[in-house]
Symmetry: C2
């Protein structure tokens, strides 16, 4: 039976939850497939996450390997294939808690960077798991700046081999997943030297562990990098190479090749590879960034409908904490953001599908724009969602701080998404560089990519809103975002220009503008997100119930952004102080409106209790009972601690001197 | 030998690091005592934190108990006493990683709430550790709202006992430290019933475990609440009471008493008790909130002086990441905040010492102000510092995410300070309530406490700054903070008034203003912090080198606040857009100035390598070597995982079907 405090929230939904779920999935058929996959995975005890919060790093690793191996069996049994409709849901159903993710990166890099012969040799081995692959790029001393990698691969013409070395400690490979304990092979990125000349960073296939007994190969030092904030299930590893010899054929040579005589040949553009790297950033946004925020919202909002604390009105029962304005103001903007990012993610995927097709046809015009999109949105969405999950965690007070709430692990995991696949600040600066170029082009009447044509738009000088209701007009707030994005970019472009004209060196001038460039890049992404949300809502016209609540969420997302970044809107008085007061009123009013549908809106995300793995967030709302039951399973309650006999007893029995 | 990249940072310090350290300590003698305590603790292997990042919850608990017990021996050996000058440094030297902290709360609550007879009976037992105490207030269903506690204590006149019960699951005591596995006794807060009448929440001493064999006493169910984001070393516990009988004498009865015939007597004001609760909030700010931020700054800034990534100028060596404006803008404001909060903490301690003296003399006038101070500053400082530690963690990229950096544990621990001893939002609303009252009083010419007299100040309508240098004038920015604090409070007071006059019920009107009230309370605390920093700098006149750099930090703290909360300053055009541009220029200029002294400024915090326990933050800057050495000690590298034989080998050897 469901806790009445939660049941009552569901009786008054203003829309059909099931219809919204299918809309989020992209159709009823996909909902059906997703549920079938989740059911198949969750009903199989081999994939259970029940004791996860009690496991140490070794146990988590073992469980992840077990799941990865059994997944092969499961897929075979179920008839699922890697290119079937089920595949994308498997990872989701496992909540990412599975090994060999880097094995897939290993395969992809061979497919993309390898010659036909290399693909023919390695891909079947990898597909059949006759080896386990990893991907060794990052070093102790070098992450984002690939050109700075220090591992060397020297071509030895006499033996037709490459000799790989880690010349100093900062060159040690560090972080690659699946490498610390599992992988037998890896793709190593190293500076290629032929006849003493450096040709830059290239990828090489290196065997690191015996296929017979898993012992390390000669010249290889490898291991696990130790405890991390999360990802305990992954054996992120280190790798040191000492005169490791590999055959010439092991350099991935679709684009570049060293011939037997040492001649270095570059075949063709690496732009497709460049596109692949870019696409990875977009592909992670959904599973690694948006889903965790949706889960956190589900947990925090359900809990807030069940948790009662203090009386709003004397004489009444204690109030649900969801009825406090401050709690609404914490949680509901995060819920709106989860929807906003779901829609922008759909938009990005369509864009990248189109880009992929064009690039297959050797048309590369879209590339700079796609790169700017993937960098900016990966950074902006991961930063926003990470902050959102933290808000959800803190909004649940002490119980949110318990691992059993599920929130700490969501937070510590999503936090990593701000760092991996490109550190966010650096990514935003790449987007900014694209925007600065486009702005200069647009200002001088040159053509620019469609997403940035607005930079040349004729701008109204003032926001035309006259009352608080005007701020529920998407044209009004979308214009405000657009105006602000242009202003931040143009003022920074002007500063950059001034600095250079005053004699400051170009690179130093750029550095002096980076804080503002980051701001401008974020404003651009925020604007596109708001615009896309508003356009998505408009297209929903037929499903009235859903359109209405989505419109409220869109308004909330937009007004929350204005309310909490008021300075950039007020700066040039595009929005006046009086108008900002209207924004505030509309914003706070919306909280009360959306609060009524808050629980149905998270129900529509359709997470099972097992996938939430949260004592606070279950569908039935029996939080206290569940916290108590789960706590009793903790290893800290399994037996009396040896600390009693060793320390407590001597202390209590006044035998301290005998210690 | 020190990494040259770090050594060079120290050669150019603009001030004497040692002099700044003694200033922070409050004098050379205190520096000496502190260092002696730290040395005594850190040189003793029993207190080692070396393997901490590899330990599970059971091991952490055992270590914390070991340290607590050995600490008793150590204090005896060293001649340290609980009221000696060394005592405050012991906890700091242990980095809080020690058990029995609640034992001290147990003792304090008896001292404050107990009669002379009760103090005479229990305090000697506790001092000699013939029992281990805890403090059982929070319940599963009730945290901040003490009046809502559901545990009952019914007086049984026939046996002269109280019968304690946990009437339902939400009434179970949950979270008390030291209670899960260690405590033999605890102070239980319960609703007192005599002859069927409820007299509200009262404290009772209850024995929960046998002093002989540590088994649970009859009617007691207790255990550990399981894994948390941090504090694994503490056995936060649960406690269920079923008809537990305790003698009448076990109700702490300094203020209230039940006589043998059931007559309930209230003796005198509980205001001193109220003061004690308030003082706890202030006392935790230093060790639990400011020190972690100082440590995080030390780690992140030293690492940023050693880490090199990408080239700022083509042709040059890769640049230290501390030379990037974006990195400076992440870290240096956190450094400035650490100093700002160190000084406000000194201010609060002076204020509370004075308050304590007055209250001893039965003068209670200061109480409301002290309560508002302790609530507001606990909330504001913990929120600010938590965000600051997170910034430091993220600014260190992937290596910051490794537990070995020391940053994740600082973050997960400081995060709890936003929740315990009063959830921050609720605390800020208590400060806001005080401010609203004072504002009303000040507006009508009534006297108000000194810290809020500014609410009645005549305000200039516009900021008088004419150029960027004016914003380095403390009068200019302090006035801006003051103006903004008044504006936010007065506009919210007006909104509250309007709502009530328009017929909205008082409590509902308050609820509708809470988002803005929180903002106003924060602005008040921010203003006081800036003002106090500026005044502190002014008093430093004789020590020129230090005054100069402190002035820069004060400016940075103030301008960072204006830059990042621009909206509240621009709203009524107190600061114009053009002036905000001046703020921005001055703010960004300051980053470059303070960057030169960044390493000396964190060196002055004088943390030993052992207290930082960070592979990234050591004094010598050999980060990569240390990461590698520490990683090798990880239990994940101790042996081949059983996962190999169980899963990997069958997979690789194509024996999946046999699984």
């Amino acid at each position: 039976s469901v806790n009445p405090d939660l049941a009552s929230e569901r009786q008054t939904a203003s829309f059909s939850v099931e219809r919204l779920t299918t809309m989020l999935d992209g159709g009823a058929e996909l909902t059906r497939v997703r549920r079938a996959v989740v059911e198949a995975i969750e009903s199989d005890p081999v994939f259970s996450r029940e004791h996860q919060y009690f496991q140490n790093q070794n146990e988590r690793y073992e469980a992840a390997v077990r799941k990865a191996v059994y997944l092969q069996k499961k897929m075979h049994e179920m008839g699922w294939s890697e290119d079937g409709p089920e595949f994308t849901y498997i990872y989701r159903a496992l909540a990412g808690d599975v090994a060999f993710l880097l094995h897939r990166v290993f395969m992809r890099s061979i497919s993309v960077l390898g010659s036909e012969e290399q693909v023919a040799k390695w891909i079947p081995l990898a597909t059949k798991y006759q080896l386990i692959g990893s991907y060794a790029q990052t070093e102790l001393g070098h992450g984002t700046n690939l050109q700075g990698l220090e591992t060397t691969a020297v071509f030895d013409i006499t033996t037709q081999e490459f000799i790989l070395n880690t010349p100093k400690i900062s060159a040690m490979k560090w972080w690659p997943g699946d490498m610390g304990r599992s992988a037998t092979h890896t793709v190593v990125f190293a500076q290629l030297y032929v006849h003493g000349k450096c040709y830059g960073v290239h990828p090489f296939i290196v065997q690191i562990r015996s296929l017979q007994d898993h012992s390390l190969c000669p010249g290889i030092t490898a291991g696990d990098i130790g405890p991390k904030m999360n990802f305990e299930h992954i054996d992120n590893g280190y790798l040191m190479l000492q005169n490791v010899r590999i055959p010439r054929e092991n350099m991935l040579n679709k684009f570049c090749k060293v011939q037997p005589d040492g001649t270095y040949i570059r075949h063709e553009s690496q732009k497709i590879n460049y596109f692949t790297m870019t696409a990875v950033r977009v592909s992670l946004i959904s599973d690694e960034v948006i889903l965790p925020l949706m889960k956190a919202c589900t947990i925090a909002i359900r809990y807030s409908a069940v948790r009662r604390q203090s009386k709003l009105n004397p004489g009444e029962e204690e109030a649900k904490i969801l009825d406090y304005q401050t709690q609404q103001e914490k949680l509901l903007p995060q819920l709106a953001a989860a929807y906003a990012f779901h829609f922008i993610n759909n938009y990005l995927h369509k864009l990248f599908d189109r880009g992929y097709k064009e690039i297959q046809e050797r048309k590369f015009d879209l590339l700079p724009e796609l790169h700017a999109f993937s960098s900016g949105f990966k950074a902006m969405v991961s930063q926003y969602c990470t902050a959102g999950v933290e808000v959800c965690l803190r909004a649940c007070g002490g119980h949110g701080y318990s691992l059993l709430s599920g929130l700490p692990s969501l937070y510590t995991k999503i936090l990593a998404s701000c760092i991996y696949e490109g550190e966010n600040t650096i990514l935003l600066l790449q987007t900014a560089r694209f925007l600065i170029k486009c702005f200069a082009a647009a200002s001088t009447g040159h053509p620019v990519p469609p997403s940035v044509t607005y930079l040349a738009a004729v701008k109204p000088r003032k926001c035309p809103a006259k009352n608080k209701l005007d701020f529920l007009n998407p044209d009004i707030y979308t214009e405000a975002y657009q105006h602000t994005a242009i202003r931040l970019l143009s003022s920074t472009a002007a500063k950059l220009q001034d600095l250079i004209q005053s004699g400051v060196e170009k690179h130093e001038a750029w550095n002096q503008c980076t804080v503002q460039l980051v701001q401008a890049a974020k404003a651009h992404c925020h604007y596109i997100t708001v615009k896309n949300f508003a356009e998505t809502v408009e297209k929903l016209e037929n499903k009235t119930g859903i359109q209405k609540i989505m419109k409220h969420l869109c308004d909330l997302f937009a007004l929350h952004g204005i309310f909490s970044n008021a300075g950039v809107f007020l700066h040039d008085r595009y929005i006046s102080g009086a108008q900002m007061d209207m924004v505030t009123v509309s914003y706070l009013d919306l909280l009360g409106v959306i609060r009524k549908d808050a629980v149905p809106l998270v129900d529509a995300f359709d997470f099972t209790d097992k996938s939430l793995n949260s004592a606070l967030g279950s569908y039935d709302g029996h939080v206290y009972q569940r916290l108590y039951e789960w706590a009793q399973k903790s290893p800290t309650n399994k037996q009396m601690s040896p600390a009693y006999e060793r320390y407590l007893q001597p202390l209590l029995h006044n035998k301290l001197s005998k210690l």
